[in-house]
């Protein structure tokens, strides 16, 4: 079952640019990237920029990747110097402003990593929105402590 799901996810990931544009005219997933992980790490982080080109509000309700057991949305806050992570079940994406996931803010937590993420790899990522449905994309893997998309000039989702 798992290899089939993984293969399917990879297939969707490969079709990312086309599907991002064709399946949903209102939601664009841009700058998908992830950080390389240390050997044997069981968690990783991925980031995207969500642009709602439609007229109504939408909401990111889930994400998945074949390389991790699950993907959660976490926010990182600094309370008097103490860093605290909290889970966000959904992320509102209004047409007013893009939602930028970035280090030190909101990140996609890859929980239960099945493999080490290495710089230069591309990992398939599927985001599910309440209205726009599922959108596949490919996250570029940057350096271990990368602070931004390793290829910011690549088109969104490519």
């Amino acid at each position: 079952m798992r290899p089939i799901v993984a293969a399917l996810a990879i297939a969707i990931g490969t079709l990312a640019p086309a599907s991002a544009m064709a399946e949903s005219s209102s939601m664009a997933v841009e700058h998908a990237w992830a950080r390389a992980t240390p050997k044997a790490a069981t968690t990783g982080a991925a980031y995207v920029t969500l642009v709602n080109n439609g007229t109504g509000d939408d909401r990111l309700v889930g994400a998945s990747t074949p390389v991790a057991e699950k993907v959660q949305f976490h926010s990182e806050t600094n309370e008097n110097g103490v860093m605290k992570m909290r889970q966000l079940l959904t992320l509102d994406v209004s047409p007013a402003a893009p939602v930028v996931l970035k280090p030190g803010g909101i990140h996609m937590m890859l929980v239960g990593l099945k493999q080490q993420l290495k710089e230069g790899q591309a990992l398939p990522l599927t985001l599910t929105f309440e209205k726009a449905g599922s959108i596949g994309t490919t996250a570029r893997v940057g350096k271990i402590g990368a602070m931004e998309d390793p290829d910011p000039h690549a088109d969104g989702g490519e």
């Binding site: 240390p38 050997k39 790490a41 982080a45 600094n78």
Partner: protein, 208 residues
């Protein structure tokens, strides 16, 4: 004659009672306030950083703060299951010591885990090594880690998210002088050039 003497005497008595004591008392109070401020200042700074006994992940040997005397320390508490903040901080620390060039030999970055349950020796070696081999990972028993965190006034606590736990933890990076006293601190988000610049100044002022 005797009346004058009396008057003079009385006058002197009044003067000795009112004139010198006001400024004198005022001066003494002023000096006390200044002294207490200085004392508080001096006695507070060494409280950050202090004795610890942990295990060096690279060697598996017990180490104490004394073993690092003679080196400038960059001390950061974190945990390896932290995918967002800790990699940012550790890569900034790694980058900052690279920017220091030859001075880097006088700086020892330490990564102390606040999650000794999962951050065992090999996990720590793999983790710190992924950023820079000059970063030494330290772990220990729950009690040893708690004592080290107390010395640095670092707070940490488990937080459950789903069926996994993560750690809330103080994200400050501490710089410690070669004699073991506290020098300065940086926010966890401090950039590598900010850390390198500050260290270069500190080491330069050290006059060695």
């Amino acid at each position: 004659m005797s009346r004058i003497e009396e008057t003079d005497h009385a006058g002197q008595g009044r003067m000795s009672l009112h004139w010198p004591w006001g400024p004198l008392l005022g001066g003494m109070m002023f000096a006390t306030v200044i002294a207490s401020i200085l004392w508080l200042h001096r006695s507070q700074t060494p409280f950050v950083g202090g004795p610890f006994e942990l295990i060096n992940a690279a060697t598996g040997r017990q180490v104490s703060d004394q073993d690092f005397r003679g080196k400038w320390l960059l001390v950061f508490f974190g945990y390896t299951h932290c995918p967002d903040l800790c990699p940012t901080t550790l890569s900034n620390i790694a980058e900052s010591i690279t920017q220091l060039g030859r001075l880097a030999a006088r700086v020892q970055p330490l990564f102390i885990t606040v999650d000794p349950e999962r951050d065992t020796q090999q996990v720590l070696v793999d983790y710190t090594g992924a950023f820079d081999h000059r970063i030494v990972g330290l772990f220990g028993s729950a009690g040893q880690v708690a004592a080290a965190a107390r010395a640095y006034r670092v707070y940490y606590a488990k937080r459950m998210i789903g069926d996994e736990y993560y750690m809330d933890h103080t994200g400050t990076i501490y710089a410690v002088r070669p004699d073991g006293t506290y020098a300065t601190s940086f926010l966890s988000t401090a950039g590598s050039s900010e850390i390198a610049k500050s260290l270069r100044q500190l080491i330069g002022n050290d006059g060695k």
